[in-house]
Amino acid sequence: MADLSITFAGIRSPNPFWLASAPPTNSGAQVHRAFEAGWGGAVWKTIGAPVLNVSNRYGAWSYGNQKMLAINNVELISDRPIQTNLREIAEVKRAWPDRAVIVSAMVESKPEAWRDIIKRIQDTGADGIELNYGCPHGMSERGMGSAVGQVPEYCEQITGWVMEVAKIPVIVKLTPNISDIVMPARAAVAAGANALSLINTINSIIGVDLDTLEITPNIAGRGGHGGYAGPAVKPIALNMLAALGRDSIVSGSGLPISGMGGITTWRDAAEFLLLGARSLQVCTAVMHYGFRIIEDLCDGLSNWMDEKGFATISDVVARSLHRVSDFKDFDLSFRAVARIDQNKCIRCDLCYVACNDTAHQCIDLVDKNGKVIPPSSYDQRSNGKAEAVTTRPSVVVRELDCVGCRLCYNICPVEHCIQMVELPNAKPSITWDQLSKQQAEVTEDWQQMEQYRRKMGIRIH
């Protein structure tokens, strides 16, 4: 059995899974139940400035038969009295000494307001503080949340105020609504923060109601951008996580990162760990299925780690980070082609139409006699199951023409039917970076490029 326990910036947790600061951690009763279900920690829903909420505050994006691939919300920070929150935080921490209890905070951008809230949080016995510089709606209009996270100078200044009085670890939570996530992260490092977390939610409008022409969700005839989260944002979160890991200043600081953004299953969790997260936060998946999902998050992660021979979470963290590269460092001589397993193929021909219409026209329809035929070439009078099934052509890749774009692989509905087969490197490895240094003219002039291609035997289909 793998050891799932972590110590994150000094905060201990029996497993890496924390509830993110959000509706699931709105009250002591909820966090109690979450801990009973097995969650390793909880980041309390942000406390701070007084707020009022509205109805129809959550929207969802669904696709196909999958409900809520993403959620968007205009819910503000906790609307419960601050004294109630602080009392319940203290009670929860007393009842669960082995779990991580972290409190998210957001107040007006004034030193005294921040110092005051930090002291009050510390009095509860909480294990850490997360600074909410990410909330993209409502609070940002009042100069808080992402209004801070989007300006590295503000981020550094406010973190500095906090660090002056903080006696417990401080995590700075970053907003993804920024052109380069590294900048606010460096600011947090400069201000002496103890850890980083990302991503907060992304600005979004879920949609428009085609019956009423109102914005979805409809708030008394209005609607607007809300924070977007859930499975659909995971790739964006992974990229930002990796960007911090690859930045020498941020990674050199040694600050641990708590990763979040669409973590739904243990598989997602493992990917965040592999790209450098040291603790994991979950919200949308819990809002969809409840606290019980913690069981498979831990069980699945543990089984996978056992299978891979990873004894501790630290063994997994950042293991794949070194593979994240820029395009200029990719091997231009690397070649892979699509190969279709005819025994697995169900002849849906989705690969054919995708390749033919939108990629590189290198999949053929081949009849029983090996002849390439156009689609719909059956006799209009033929019909019936047997006729349709037995005369259906095979889809065959012309490997010489296949550029290995991987589109067919991505859309094939049958598991392991299309494989991207790596071809032996016929040419010496070279990257764009090397090429532009060794033969700059090739990278600057089309005629030179043509000559280089001919010399290297590179065919463009």
Binding site: I346, R347, C348, L350, V353, N383, K385, A388
Partner: protein, 446 residues
């Protein structure tokens, strides 16, 4: 017509009658989730398998996007009788049988999705086509079954003046009279007739071609003729007491149009093992027969009913006597008491390619019954003789363009089905393709 086509679907039979449509309509949610499962195959095998080649992935995705109007139009473009076909097609042998998800998963419920789109179109009274400008050409369509309705509708769309002659009181052919209500309520067929009428087709019921109009009148008054007369009466078994056997098609007709007056025995024997025989056995059970036995002179391997029909009727509690041939009806002053059968054995293949059953000597047995129904196929169409047309195995002979040996006279549907199995959807396709040939002839002979 006497029965209003405005009657809402499924609402004419009481829930307790046992004859209500077997499959409930899909709910909106069921239709949307089922349609989402469709992979949207390219050049899809379901479309190939459908005799009318409806673009199935297209209409299914339109259901998913909530474009039910577009979905229905997609169906109608290939098949004007999409509502009947969605109910009566042997989808296991056609579209759903060819679904790529069938091998490892459940095929998409194409028939029920099509019905969803069709029910939407009819319940909202949507109209999709307007006749083209009149060509002043006239076509007589003889027989208002699926082939005739399809051909008439397609020709009307092209601007021709079409008169549809129907011998019976109601149009619709077997959809109206011969498909049990469990599969297709009569209102569905009549709404389709009304839709074809709206395209401008004159439907003249109660008119028997040969006497009214005469063959001469037909030729004189119309530029082209399309024969879609279906098949004739059930043949004679040639056994004693046969006059006390009920004709299967009349039995079904009674169950559809006047179910309250249909007499159903307690112990019913159905002679035959084709689609109609299965339907007769089904309604006998559903209308209260305690025991229903199907008698067939060959075995389950040779029966013409589809495997899914055989499975269905067994689940309905119908028993089978294979390798038994009726020889005499035992009755008491017309009141049926039993059917005497002789046991059979399979011999060499006969003209149909199936092993010929031979009676076993001294193997007669008496099967008690108080009602006997026969469904052993239908006679070939007699109109071929009337119009002096060449035939093939008794069926009207047509060329690739559905034209008979008499120029300008076309034919389609069951009356030409010398090869392959007869079905509604094949008849619809015949009507559609024949309409194209007729159109071409009318235009060329301008």
């Amino acid at each position: 017509m006497n029965i209003s086509p405005e009657v809402p679907l499924n609402d004419t039979l009481s829930p307790s009658s046992g004859l209500r449509e077997l499959l409930p309509p899909l709910t909106e949610h069921e239709a949307v989730t089922e349609s989402a499962r469709c992979l949207m195959c390219y050049d899809a095998p379901c479309t190939h398998a459908c005799p009318t080649h409806i673009d199935i992935p297209k209409f299914i995705k339109k259901i998913h996007t909530g474009n039910l109007r577009g979905s229905a139009r997609t169906i109608f473009e290939s098949n004007l009788l999409g509502s009947t076909c969605s109910r009566v097609c042997p989808v296991q042998e056609l579209c759903e049988g060819a679904c790529v998800l069938g091998s490892e998963h459940k095929p998409i419920a194409i028939g029920r999705l099509q019905r969803h789109a069709m029910d939407h179109a009819y319940s909202k009274k949507l109209e999709f086509f307007r006749p083209a400008a009149s060509t002043a050409k006239t076509v007589a369509v003889v027989g208002a079954g699926p082939a005739g309705l399809s051909c008439a509708g397609e020709l009307a769309k092209l601007g021709h003046s079409v008169t549809l002659f129907e011998r019976r009181d109601l149009a619709g052919g077997l959809s109206t009279y011969g498909i049990i209500s469990l599969r297709e309520p009569v209102e569905v067929a009549l709404m389709e007739v009304a839709m074809i009428q709206k395209l401008g087709v004159r439907v003249e019921t109660g008119r028997d071609v040969g006497t009214d109009p005469t063959v001469t009148e037909l030729h004189e008054q119309f530029d082209c003729v399309f024969l879609s007369v279906g098949l004739g009466h059930t043949p004679q078994l040639g056994i004693a007491g046969e006059e006390y056997i009920i004709d299967g098609l009349q039995y079904i007709e009674g169950s559809k149009l006047l179910p309250s007056r249909l007499r159903v025995g307690r112990n019913v024997i159905v002679i035959g093992a084709g689609n109609t025989a299965i339907d007769c056995a089904t309604i006998a059970r559903r209308l209260g027969a305690e025991r229903v036995t199907m008698i067939y002179r060959r075995t389950e391997n040779e029966m013409t009913a589809y495997p899914h029909e055989y499975d269905f009727v067994k689940r309905e509690g119908v028993a089978f006597w294979f390798l038994a041939q009726p020889v005499k009806v035992h009755h008491d002053n017309g009141s049926v008491k039993a059917l005497e059968c002789v046991r059979m054995a399979l011999g060499e293949p006969d003209a149909s390619g199936r092993p010929a059953p031979q009676p076993l000597p001294d193997s007669n047995m008496l099967l008690p019954a108080d009602q006997i129904v026969k469904a052993i196929g239908q006679h070939k169409p007699s109109i071929a003789q009337l119009l002096n047309l060449r035939t093939e195995k008794g069926f009207i002979e047509v060329n690739d363009r559905f034209e008979t040996s008499s120029p300008g006279v076309f034919a389609g549907g069951d009356c030409i089905r010398a090869r392959g199995s007869a079905s509604t959807v094949m008849a619809v396709q015949d009507g559609k393709l024949a309409a194209r040939s007729i159109h071409q002839r009318l235009v060329n002979h301008g």
